[in-house]
Amino acid sequence: MFAIFALITLFGALSVAFQKNLVVAGLCMVLTFFGVAGLYLLLSNPVAAALQIIVYSGAIVVLVLFVIMLLSAHEEEPAGRTMPIQRWGSAVVALALAAGAVRVVLTSGFMQAMKPLKIQGPMNLNLVGVELFRGHLVAFEVAGLLLLATMIGAVALVKKDL
């Protein structure tokens, strides 16, 4: 199961990288987010999986697709000047980083030594809610304030005359 969800995730991300059509790229991003939600389920964390599907595949992707259709920017604009060095340079940087990451993970003694601790059962919302309101009440309120400030800021940014 893990290999399937990992492949779904990475395949979706790669098709975002190489897709020409922006709407299709957005839908590939939905695929990636569902793969990540599956990984969270396998990590016995259904709370995080539900949040991932609701917030990312629900809200954020809808927002992105909405803006793509609002600006009718389905196609990538033709380049003003071609810069193949940028494309090749980024591919080289990404490949080098990926090779380094794979090597570090495969040879790290720390992660091999780390045996997963036993858990009682899957994460449940009750535990999260109690911890959130007992230990992080101020942070929770600040997050609410941040969301309000963002809402006002986004409206102020796109409104023509306030």
């Binding site: 990288a17 987010f33 927002l63 609002l70 920017a73 999260v128």
Partner: protein, 109 residues
């Protein structure tokens, strides 16, 4: 070197590997594409990679509740970032009639 079978079955190393590869792909998207909206999608991919690593380590530590609470806050900030980022894209389009980051060079000397 370790054998690949436990990684394919999804131990901690497997999840960290997926997170790192997802991050690298997101970085590649941001670096190589010119459309602002696709670059924004790359940033979202990188943020997701960080979340996968966080929750994988939390699982290895016995599914700590703190990590899920942190994940909740990260999601809230990510939603804010998405709203402001897309508002900026709309603002750029209004100013320049473009979504190409190469053409948004008003601050260039």
């Amino acid at each position: 070197m370790t054998s690949l079978t436990p990684i394919l079955q999804g131990n901690l190393q497997g999840y960290i590997l997926v997170a790192l590869l997802l991050f690298v792909i997101g970085l590649f998207v941001v670096l190589s594409r010119r459309t602002v909206l696709i670059q924004f999608m790359g940033v979202e991919l990188m943020l997701n990679a960080a979340n996968v690593a966080l929750l994988a380590f939390a699982r290895a530590r016995g599914n700590d509740v703190q990590a899920t609470v942190f994940y909740l806050f990260i999601i809230a900030v990510a939603a804010c970032e998405a709203a402001v980022g897309l508002a900026l894209v709309v603002g750029l389009f209004r100013l320049r009639q473009t979504t190409d980051s190469d053409r948004a060079d008003a601050l260039k000397l």
